[in-house]
């Protein structure tokens, strides 16, 4: 196969990977701060995807334009979830929180199934089939826009955490729960805020992905798993790690799809997960805890 095809597929993979990275970023932020393993992460993203699809088919609103509102909706959802339900589970054993979110995931997937049916839906914008030519590369417009949006959101998030007061307060909670309480931080509110932000990330990622893939309710669990693979590979709790992991997985997925059969590409993601869990459980950029 000519080299261009490899290159194009690889670039496509990297761009998609950036969106994956944003999705995983949300998961990483949630885990890094609130220490909750959000098993409903992909499912939350599917909610955003269906909102985007519905708005498009009803009102022809471009998903990218709807990015901020939809992310805001997911933010509210995440905030309410943490404040209303998960906060009371902070002191409970780890697997209880996990199962709580498993239950939520099951409910979300199947409600979506009931409402929207199992058939794939997608969004065809005016630029769905456009592409850019950059030297020998042919880059899909949708992927390029999605990746650009992903980078923008990620940067905004970095800036928020590093330079704003609230962002610093959240990082303090992550570092030391009791210490944060002692200095008077409203930790529960900050936790809810963080979960909301994580949900907003995943909502934004979902909107971007709608441009690239077809939407079915089954995507929920598939992306939850993918998000975990990325976050664990990149390093749980590390924001740059999530993006790096996303790009890595996006690339692997694309190349595996090209070199082997497309349906086997998830096997590589899982193989990577197993290897990382065994040999470097803190991920590429994570810190060793214990």
């Amino acid at each position: 196969m000519p080299a261009d095809i490899y290159l194009n597929v690889a670039v496509g993979g990297v761009l998609t990977g950036l969106v994956y990275g944003l999705m995983a970023l949300g998961l990483s932020v949630i885990f890094g701060v609130v220490r909750v393993v959000n098993f409903a992460h992909g499912e939350m993203m599917t909610i955003a995807m269906y909102i985007a699809v519905t708005l498009f088919s009803a009102f022809h609103l471009d998903p990218l334009l709807m990015l901020v509102p939809i992310a805001a909706v997911l933010f509210a959802f995440g905030y309410a979830l943490q404040a209303g339900v998960i906060n009371s589970f902070i002191t409970r054993p780890e697997h209880t929180q996990f199962l709580l979110l498993v239950a939520l995931a099951i409910i979300i997937v199947n409600v979506l199934l009931i409402v929207f049916g199992p058939d794939a839906q997608n969004v065809q914008t005016s630029y769905s089939y456009d592409s850019f030519q950059v030297g020998p590369l042919i880059v899909d417009a949708t992927k390029a826009y999605a990746a650009a949006a992903a980078i923008a959101v990620a940067v905004a998030l970095f800036v928020f955490f590093k330079y704003t007061r609230i962002g610093t307060a959240i990082r303090a909670c992550a570092d030391n729960y009791t210490g944060a309480l002692v200095v008077g931080l409203d930790v529960r509110h900050l936790y809810a805020l963080t979960f909301g932000l994580g949900a907003a990330c995943v909502g934004a990622a979902g909107v971007m992905l709608v441009l690239i893939v077809d939407v079915t309710p089954a995507l929920g669990p598939a992306y939850t798993l993918l998000a975990f693979v990325i976050v664990i590979t990149g390093g749980l709790g590390s924001m740059p790690g999530a993006l790096l992991g996303g790009v890595l997985i996006g690339l692997t997925e694309a190349m595996a799809g090209l070199l082997f059969t497309p349906s086997a590409k998830s096997m590589f993601a899982f193989a990577i997960l197993v290897l990382v869990l065994l040999f470097r459980p803190q991920g590429i950029m994570g810190k060793r805890t214990a």
């Binding site: 996990f98 498993v102 099951i106 199947n110 199992p118 669990p221 998830s266 197993v274």
Partner: protein
């Protein structure tokens, strides 16, 4: 030996168990075909729930990929039957070791490399998913188009080849569930059971008391996997068709854990009660919806999700411990 097994169990509980057993044995004689199928499902989940409970409830290891063992058991026995005409009871001799080996593999990877808690759960999910996609591409078992078992006849019960009336499957599963129950009780009271519970409570403290945690966790995983694969074999010969997409799917793994969690993780009767409640109520729901002319694929799963949610939020130890207190049946080893 029986004396030891029932030691500490209040008379009332024994009496109730006896009544339940009689009722279950007589059920196929009076139940309709549909009800019989529901009962078979209940027993199936009760049995697998017991097997899963050994890993989680006894040894504290959360497995969210138990469908792997069901699938391996099912596919191994089915493939041997389809390709070589080997009956399921002989097929078991291969299927069980295959599943046990898979369990040992996962256990070894996880425990040697200190993969614990939620990470362990994710590892089990990943391996099951790997199997799902893998079997989709395995031509020897017909990949994603599905493996079909030839159904020669339905009229008379061929126990050797597991071909026959659902009642035959019912009694096999009933026997399996009862045996599993007794086995688990014996395990809990044994040295292994004590060590498992210690590991579940505090692994580091258990090691400081001389317990080789790796060794005993491996035992739990292997026993659990082996027991589960038996159910897989029954599954294959009852439904007579296997698709990787269904058999290894994470939804199956979650169905497996629902019974024990709702009923009560770590208790003996929890998985049975959980299976009864969940499957019973779910089928009632489906029947009710059907009577109203509504067909909602996914309604059952939503119901399961809410049950799980409810139990985790309100009765975290499960329904059985709560029920025990209510009817005054506190047992020592539960």
């Amino acid at each position: 030996m029986i004396a030891r097994l029932i030691e500490g169990v209040p008379r009332r509980a024994l009496a109730m168990l006896g009544v339940l057993l009689v009722a279950l044995t007589a059920a196929p004689l009076i139940a309709s075909d549909y009800l019989l199928t529901v009962l078979i499902l209940i027993l199936y989940f009760a049995y697998i729930g017991q097997a899963w409970n050994i890993m989680m409830g006894f040894a504290g290891q959360l497995s969210l990929g138990h469908a792997l063992y069901v699938g391996l058991g099912a596919y191994t026995a089915a493939a041997l039957y389809v390709h070589f005409g080997i009956g399921p009871w002989l097929g078991l001799l291969v299927a069980v070791p295959v599943a046990a080996l898979a369990g040992a593999f996962i256990g070894f990877l996880a425990f040697r490399f200190r993969v614990a808690g939620v990470y362990f759960a994710i590892l089990t999910i990943a391996v099951a998913e790997f199997a799902r996609v893998g079997f989709d591409h395995l031509s020897w078992t017909s990949g994603s188009s599905g493996l079909f078992l030839p159904v020669a006849q339905y009229a008379h019960n061929d126990l050797w080849n597991l071909r026959g009336h659902p009642a035959m499957f019912y009694y096999i599963l009933l026997a399996a569930t009862v045996l599993a129950f007794i086995f688990c009780r014996a395990l809990l009271q044994s040295r292994v059971g004590y060590f498992w519970r210690a590991i579940r409570e505090d692994e580091e403290a258990a090691r400081s008391a001389g317990i080789d945690a790796f060794h005993y966790k491996m035992i739990a995983v292997v026993i659990s996997a082996a027991m589960t694969s038996f159910a897989g074999v029954i599954y294959a010969f009852f439904y007579n068709n296997l698709f990787p997409e269904q058999v290894f799917h994470i939804a199956r793994s979650i169905e497996i854990i629902l019974g024990p969690i709702v009923g009560g993780v770590g208790t003996l009767f929890g998985p049975i009660l959980g299976a009864l409640l969940l499957t019973g109520l779910a089928e009632t729901l489906t029947a009710a919806l059907a009577a109203l002319g509504v067909n909602l694929p996914g309604a059952k799963q939503v119901f399961y999700g809410f049950c799980l949610l409810l139990v985790i939020m309100a009765l975290p130890d499960g329904v059985w411990p709560w029920l025990c207190k209510r009817i005054g049946l506190t047992e020592r080893n539960q």
